[in-house]
């Protein structure tokens, strides 16, 4: 489509948007414009200020300075209702659907006008049929997969007939196949004249989808480019602002794994303890010394339950988990640590660390057994503090003293601290969930290197991640978890994205075909 065709008034123009939080300038004098029908990318690392900017556009935050123009007119967006009234729709990354309500009730919550669920359900059916977004208004949201939830959110926006659709990291929870379908919908909306503001840090997607890209770094606008004319590398450098070292493995020959099995999971079947959780079905895998094993999958497919079983937070029948051929299924987390398993949970604040406690206390939290920080039942304060400093030094953690609270560290620094704390305990088996989720590229590089080095030193490294790129980059073998079942592991060399994607979607090639056909039928109706 041709942007300069007829309309030269931008649908949305931001000029000089500035927003400060205590101790951080989230947006510094940002200018950009989105034309009608344009798909405009907002590109930047975690913490670059994208989310703040989006919240300002959707009326959730108020800019300290700056002007917003809508269709050429100066507007003030005081709350989301005002944004919706203008014609701005938003698909959130997190926190936007209500688990215990039905799809129709969820959608009703963001629509103004008369409250009539029956009439609304008909409208939902019409819109979802017309765009091929399968959604059942009567279902409870907690029964839906992540992809289905996103469809609900998109349908919710479309019912407001938006002029501008804001999408915050929409693909981070989707399989590659679901991403393709989403892009079809977005291209169609664009051809109908709807503007799309697409927030992401995934360069391939932006190249494939977007007409323009505005790049943010540390709250500042550092460039506006046409993605089609750029390479992924040139955009990456603008986004990160520095040359990044590729992680290196001392032992570059990945095939030469020692065939010594250190860790086994046998027929692990476990009903979930959570009300809306996922049950595990007959999970099997074996890990060899010196290996990095990746488990891919879309969030909410049993990862949390698997990790809880592996870390000992939930106990299982003894023979289902073997460490050095010893059954440890009944071991508590403490016993597993002394046996040689350390673990980095997904949630940094509140799970991997106590936010309001000092760094040294957080070092003690999981390190007191293997690092022997207890003496006669009393805390050995000197040894504890030494350990905390050692972690900070070895992993280059920026902090203002080991007395400072864990919650005061930036995401990347805290993650380095937690990974360092677990790595420096010299584990036999190291387990990490989303080790680089939401951290800056520099910290991610440090963490990846540490995991590679740990494997080289003879430990087993198990990584559970939603980030396929990360797994393809550092793991030796990959398996996929979906619906609480784990696929066969495959060597990373031979793993292809499409196949992984299909496994993540929980289907085989045949069933995928069927679904496409089923939707075709709906179109006809």
């Amino acid at each position: 489509m041709n942007l300069s065709q007829s309309n030269t008034t931008p649908r949305l123009r931001l000029s000089g948007i500035t927003k400060a939080f205590p101790g951080c300038l989230a947006n510094d004098n940002i200018d950009f414009a989105v034309m009608p029908g344009e798909i405009h990318a907002l590109l930047g690392e975690n913490g670059a200020g994208k989310s703040t900017l989006v919240k300002i556009i959707y009326g959730l935050l108020k800019a300290d300075r700056g002007v917003i123009e809508w269709e050429g007119k100066h507007v003030s967006i005081d709350n989301p209702a005002a944004a919706r009234a203008l014609g701005i729709g938003m698909v959130f990354q997190h926190f936007s659907l209500f688990e215990a309500l039905t799809v129709a009730e969820n959608i009703a919550l963001s629509l103004d006008g008369a409250y009539n669920l029956a009439a609304l359900s008909e409208k939902i059916a019409a819109v979802s049929a017309s765009y091929g977004l399968k959604v059942d208004p009567k279902r409870w949201v907690h029964e839906l997969s992540v992809g289905e939830r996103q469809r609900v959110e998109i349908v919710r926006c479309l019912l407001q007939t938006p002029q501008l659709l804001v999408m915050d990291e929409p693909t981070s929870v989707l399989t590659p196949q679901e991403v393709d379908k989403l892009f079809e919908v977005l291209r169609r909306l664009s051809s109908e004249g709807v503007s799309i503001l697409y927030i992401s840090h995934k360069l391939d997607e932006i190249k494939a989808l977007c007409h323009h890209a505005t790049i943010l770094r540390q709250g500042r606008l550092v460039g506006e480019v046409v993605p089609a004319e750029e390479t992924a590398l040139s955009m990456a450098q603008l986004m990160v602002g520095e040359q990044l070292a590729e992680p290196l493995r001392a032992d570059a020959d990945r095939d030469r794994l020692d065939q010594e099995v250190l860790f086994q999971v046998n027929e692990l079947t476990l009903p979930s303890e959570q009300p809306f959780g996922v049950d595990l079905h007959a999970i099997n895998f074996e890990l060899n010394r010196g290996e990095i094993f990746g488990i891919a999958g879309v969030a909410g497919n049993g990862q949390n339950e698997l990790l809880a079983a592996l870390s000992g937070e939930v106990s299982t029948p003894p023979e289902t988990i073997l460490l050095n051929r010893q059954p440890i299924g009944r071991y508590s987390p403490t016993q597993r640590r002394s046996a040689g398993i350390t673990y980095v949970p997904e949630e940094r604040l509140g799970h991997g660390a106590v936010p309001d406690m000092a760094l040294h206390e957080n070092a003690f939290l999981s390190g007191f057994i293997r690092r022997r920080l207890l003496r006669h039942g009393m805390i050995d304060i000197l040894a504890r503090n030494r350990f905390a400093r050692e972690v900070c030094d070895a992993f280059n953690v920026k902090h203002s003293g080991i007395e400072s609270a864990a919650g005061s560290l930036s995401g990347g620094n805290l993650q380095k601290y937690i990974v360092g704390r677990e790595v420096l305990q010299k584990p036999t088996v190291f387990i990490a969930a989303q080790p680089t989720w939401g951290v800056d590229a520099g910290a991610a590089a440090v963490i990846h290197q540490a995991l590679l080095d740990l494997a080289d030193s003879g430990s087993v490294v198990l990584i559970v991640s939603q980030d396929l790129d990360e797994l393809l980059l550092i793991s030796d073998r990959i398996a996929v978890i979906s619906g609480g079942r784990l696929s066969q592991a495959m060597p990373t060399r031979t793993a292809d994205r499409n196949r992984l994607g299909m496994l993540m979607g929980g289907m085989k090639a045949g069933t995928l075909q069927e679904e496409v056909e089923a939707q075709g039928v709906q179109h006809a109706v």
Partner: protein
Amino acid sequence: MNSDVLVLTLLTVISAATPLIFAATGELVAEKSGVLNLGVEGMMLVGAVSAFLAVTETQSALFACLVALIAGAGMALIFAFLTLTLHANQVATGLALTIFGIGLSALVGQDLVGVAYAGLPKLTVPVLADIPIIGPLLFDHNFLIYLSIVVVFGVLWFLQKSRMGLILRAVGESHDAAHAIGYRVVLIRYLATLFGGGMAGLGGAYISLSYSPMWAENMTAGRGWIALALVVFATWRPVRVLLGAYLFGGITILQLHAQAIGVSIPSEMLSMLPYLVTIIVLVMISRDSNRVLGNAPACLGKPFNAAA
């Protein structure tokens, strides 16, 4: 037992259940919005004493109930300000509210001890009230009893059928999501908390105006806490609150009648019954954790901060 005795017994059951219905239904609404207010006992006491004070001053029962409603809501306002605006811990603040309510009601009521009041006038429905058995059971009560039923079904309709009710449930389910789509979480929780306080106040008023028309220190005797237990018992459903309240009313009355019949058990042991039954019922409900967790508002008792 002849039918007169049966009717009399059932009437006392209704009377014993009514304060619980008010307090528990109010608390249910607050909890549905995500607010756990443990100060029900304190709010009921303040409601009871202010209603009794108002009725002895003005002789107007209607005005007394209005005063109790406002007094209960006023107590709830303290709670709401501390927990919703100042982010204080809801459990601790609720306990403080009860301690404060006990002291405040005793202070206000010190000159009311021993004052007599005739009790609430009955609103008898003509003709219908003359039907045997059903008449006196359904159509011959004071207005608070009718109101308690209206409140339960009103709340049921509000939560299930109205848009505002949907919004209230959404706020209790996920305050972050509700905030993200633009609802004023704190304001909605303020309103729900105030409603809960007002209803607790009315429940207190019923005790001091009708159940035992007088004022005595601590006269609610733990009914605020039983109301809290009832909300759990009812798994946050209004109609089950109603049934639960009549069940507890029945137990309270059973205790009185056993004494009257002359069962040779110490009276204290019979007085323990409602409290012991509460514990047993709570155990029965909560042992099925999915049932409770699946129905409990997901954000119950969690602090919300819009900044960020």
